[in-house]
């Protein structure tokens, strides 16, 4: 863990590549990323079904092909063959446009995410990112804020009150959690001093992953990602007990299928963003082998494997949470977002900013052992405060808030059969 300034320089300023090579490799990267991404989305649906089956102790889809691997193809064919229905009095243009609007933003974000170490090819340096934008980080925020249009318009264009309610819930929820998400990422900008995703990864590979020195921001980002992707416990927009199917009530066949697809696409993108911002992106931990030239093809493959492993872990995490936690109530969702996530993210930004300012004033270099140690200790204290002192079944987990002794006694007075409640969760 030490700074390698010359290495940083090498990554920031790529060697000139001729236009032809640039275009050819850009096209190649586009095709490869698009293919892997689409196959990944398709198999996420399969993974969800198999993992949910595993968690619930049943078999899951295992009939089509070996281990059920061709289930995805069968689902695709089924969705394409189904009848497309259009509700009467619906706004047809927006009704057709909405599924695409839900999916496209998740895909565009991949344009700026670096997915492997650069490749020192015989034709010059090839960066393993489709568009190496200097404001890549802000680009991801801007594009992810557009995902809400698809769901809102789907709800509105369907001309159905349940769909409209789902769409309104989706937009209210995504706007609320987007603020906490943005606030959490401010800390990453403070630490890295840049909005260039390539440089954020370089900074993490030389001075430790951000999850260690920005643990609370990582936690807030993770929770807000669940809300942004409309996953359980925040899947209020499609709460089937209240809204039939929410914003996609009126959709059928492939247009319906685009909504689950966009949900998985958003999950993969969210996983990639968490990996990039907090878990070092394509950086392989405990070694500098992947961070120094020469950048061979083997390094590209190894770092890509590392990145894919991180994204897949977060996919598993998303699925795992879905089959573990119940859904929030709507008021709980809003109070969690506005009364807990946003204030704590703001407070954390203040604490991190003043700490960094103090360390800079004290002359402790960024990335030095002392700097990392102090940041790590600070985060440990804050995490302990957050999870064990602030939250006693009241703030973070209002859905699972336990009864206090007075409430238990009241219950026992009403129903003596509940006497086995005593002692539990008090």
């Amino acid at each position: 863990m030490h700074l390698i300034p010359s290495l940083l320089q090498a990554v920031v300023e790529p060697l000139p590549v001729s236009t032809g090579i640039f275009v050819v490799f850009s096209l190649l990267k586009l095709i490869v990323i698009f293919t892997i991404y689409m196959v990944g989305i398709a198999y996420s649906t399969f993974a969800e079904r198999r993992i949910s089956a595993w968690i619930q102790d049943r078999h899951g889809p295992n009939r089509v092909g070996p281990w059920g691997l061709f289930q995805v193809l069968a689902d695709g064919v089924k969705n394409f063959m189904k009848e497309e229905t259009y509700p009467g009095e619906a706004n047809t243009v927006l009704f057709v446009l909405a599924p695409a609007l839900a999916f496209v933003p998740a895909m565009i974000t991949w344009a700026v995410i670096p997915f492997a170490a650069p490749w020192g090819s015989p034709w010059g340096r090839i960066d393993m990112v489709v568009a190496d934008l200097p404001v890549g980080f802000l680009f991801t925020l801007a594009i992810s804020s557009l995902g809400v249009y698809g769901l809102t318009l789907a709800g509105w264009a369907s001309n159905n009150k349940y769909a409209l309610l789902g769409g309104l819930r989706a937009s209210a929820q995504m706007i609320s959690y987007e603020i906490a998400l943005g606030m959490a990422t401010v800390c990453v900008l403070l630490v890295s001093g840049n909005a260039h995703l390539t440089e954020i990864i370089q900074q993490q590979s030389t001075s430790g992953w951000n999850v260690l020195i920005l643990s609370v921001a990582c936690f807030i980002f993770l929770v807000a990602s669940f809300a942004e992707t409309n996953r359980v416990p925040f899947d209020l927009p499609e709460a089937e007990a209240e809204l039939i199917a929410g914003y996609h009530t009126e959709y059928s066949a492939m247009k319906f299928s685009m909504f689950p697809i966009s949900e998985y696409a958003n999950m993969i993108t969210a996983g990639a963003m968490i990996s990039t911002l907090f878990f070092g992106g394509w950086d392989i931990p405990f070694t500098h082998w992947d961070n120094i030239p020469p950048y061979t093809g083997l390094k590209v493959l190894a770092t890509f494997g590392m990145f894919a492993a991180k994204v897949m872990f977060f996919m598993f995490f998303f699925i795992w949470i879905r089959w573990t936690l119940p859904r929030f109530r709507y008021d709980q969702l809003m109070s969690l977002g506005w009364k807990f996530m946003l204030p704590s993210a703001l407070a954390y930004v203040t604490v991190v900013a003043s700490t960094i300012l103090g360390l800079d004033a004290a002359g402790i270099a960024r990335g030095s052992w002392a700097y990392l140690g102090i940041m790590l200790a600070l985060n440990l204290v804050l995490v302990v405060l957050m999870f064990f002192v602030l939250d006693r079944g009241r703030i973070i987990s209002p859905a699972s808030s336990r009864l206090n002794r007075r409430q238990v006694n009241q219950l026992k007075a009403v129903a003596p059969a509940l006497s086995d409640l005593s002692g539990k969760g008090v």
């Binding site: 236009t19 640039f22 927006l94 801007a142 557009l146 809102t152 509105w156 769409g167 309104l168 260039h196």
Partner: protein, 182 residues
């Protein structure tokens, strides 16, 4: 980043594509009867403008255009339009009398004349700032955001803080309006 000779053609082509898109979208924006489609055409205009900013090497402004306008303000706007379910265009027109319409038309003609005069004047006369301020020229740190952030928090700090007061007023107004009347 890459050396090539196709840039002028590439820029010209993209400029005309996105400039036309911006003009077309803004025309649709003012002529649509349905408030939801009007709002969506405005989003399209924002995107075309963002592309034009990026082509001027002002990536930060371009991204902010999308993040703030298309991503936040227009979503809230759309949200309100849907909630209120405004249907009759004549009911929510800002200007319903002939007097204000004449004033608005006059102002529009004035603005168009101003723009055309500017477009036909020589290039040097069009530049409002002829020399780059020293704070912009020296702001090296912070990548592409530094040159924007530097002057904003030093030279133009007062204007920046006044803008934040404006936002605070808007927030207080929203809270007062949303407060339950007992």
């Amino acid at each position: 980043m890459i050396t090539n000779e196709f840039y002028p053609l590439f820029y010209t082509f993209n400029f005309y594509v996105f400039a036309l898109l911006a003009l077309m979208s803004s025309l649709f924006f003012v002529t649509r009867k349905s408030p939801v489609s009007a709002a969506l055409w405005l989003v399209s205009t924002m995107f075309a403008l963002a592309v034009l900013y990026v082509m001027l090497d002002a990536e930060f402004i371009g991204i902010m255009q999308i993040l703030v306008y298309a991503g936040a303000i227009m979503v809230v706007f759309l949200f309100v339009v849907m909630l209120l379910n405004l249907g009759q265009p004549s009911e929510f027109s800002d200007i319903r009398k002939n007097g204000p319409r004449l004033v608005a038309g006059f102002l529009g003609i004035l603005l168009t004349a101003e723009l055309l005069t500017l477009a036909w004047s020589p290039l040097d006369a069009r530049l409002l700032v002829t020399t780059v301020p020293p704070s912009v020229a020296t702001a090296g740190a912070g990548g592409i955001i530094g040159p924007v952030a530097g002057p904003l928090f030093t030279e133009y700090l007062l204007a920046f803080e006044l803008t934040s007061v404006l936002l605070l007023v808007a927030i207080i107004g929203a809270v007062v309006l949303a407060k339950k009347r007992s």
